[in-house]
């Protein structure tokens, strides 16, 4: 905690990748400890089922219908063709305006959703105002 305070608080620590690095270091340590047996994970590196038993258990996997994707795209296009484009645009502009200020954006967000603006369009509008977080890349 003292370390995070020294860095200027939790937000600063995240921006600089301190937390992410600490988590990743711990994940790496855990992986090596599981490998060496120092850290016991029942069913993974201790008391594991024999291969024979594994073979007996048959797993069935769900296979997604490849047409689902196209159907959803078609539906999205249909919604886009049928909605009131002016209302969508006005709401997105209003949302951006509200996002720049201090006001609660939720009522405006709900109004925007009701015009059938897509999540992508809403996200892009908010990104224009807030930008996106770029995680510092350290290994």
């Amino acid at each position: 905690m003292g370390k995070i305070d020294e860095m200027g608080g939790a937000v600063k620590a995240i921006e600089e990748g301190f937390m992410q690095e600490a988590i990743a270091d711990e994940a790496y340590r855990a992986m090596r400890q599981e490998k060496s047996g120092e850290r016991v994970v029942v069913g993974v590196n201790k008391f594991t089922a024999e291969d024979e038993e594994k073979e007996k258990r048959e797993m069935r996997f769900h296979e997604a219908d490849p047409l689902v994707r196209q159907r959803q795209i078609d539906r999205l296009n249909q919604v886009r063709n049928e909605r009131d484009e002016n209302a969508v645009r006005d709401c997105l502009n209003e949302l951006k305006e509200k996002a720049r200020g201090k006001e609660n954006v939720m009522p405006c967000l709900i109004k925007t959703v009701r015009t059938y603006a897509s999540i992508e369009e809403i996200m892009e509008a908010l990104k224009e105002v807030f930008g996106t977080f770029k995680e510092p890349l350290r290994i």
Binding site: A24, Y28, M31, R32, K35, L137, I139
Partner: protein, 135 residues
């Protein structure tokens, strides 16, 4: 590529899959094994991954996928590598890949697949072996 020269690996995460614990742990594992590792960060498109791989002149793309989208994304990356005449860059996949898909991925041209539970020594030895695999 000359034997003995260090290989360079791009560890990549694609799409909306935000599970980077494994990717980062593997990046550290390879780094500690003396391999040059570059990490793309989250939410990359196949185009971004292939561009980075070419710009950074890597030998292998190590793609980590735990979202189930491995068939589509791998196909796109392989296609883009081909279009950019960069088929000498190997594609290796790690993550939650079921047995049935391992064979499918390899048929597509993926060089190796490391599903969940793979012994980490196996991964290190794959990347440490003399680099003579061509597709």
């Amino acid at each position: 590529m000359n034997e003995g020269r260090k290989i360079r690996v791009l560890v990549a995460k694609a799409g909306l899959d935000g599970h980077d614990r494994g990717a980062k742990a593997i990046a550290r594992l390879l780094r500690d094994a003396g391999i040059e590792v570059i990490y793309t960060g989250l939410h990359q498109t196949p185009e971004q991954i292939v561009n980075t791989a070419i710009q950074e002149d890597v030998n292998v793309i190590g793609l980590s996928i735990l979202s189930g989208a491995h068939m589509g994304i791998s196909g796109k990356i392989l296609k883009l590598l081909k279009e950019n005449k960069a088929q000498d860059i190997l594609l290796v996949i790690g993550g939650t890949i079921i047995d049935r898909d391992i064979a499918r991925l390899k048929d597509m041209g993926v060089a190796e697949v490391f599903p969940m539970g793979t012994d980490i020594d196996k991964i290190v030895s794959f990347f440490s072996a003399p680099y003579d695999r061509k597709m």
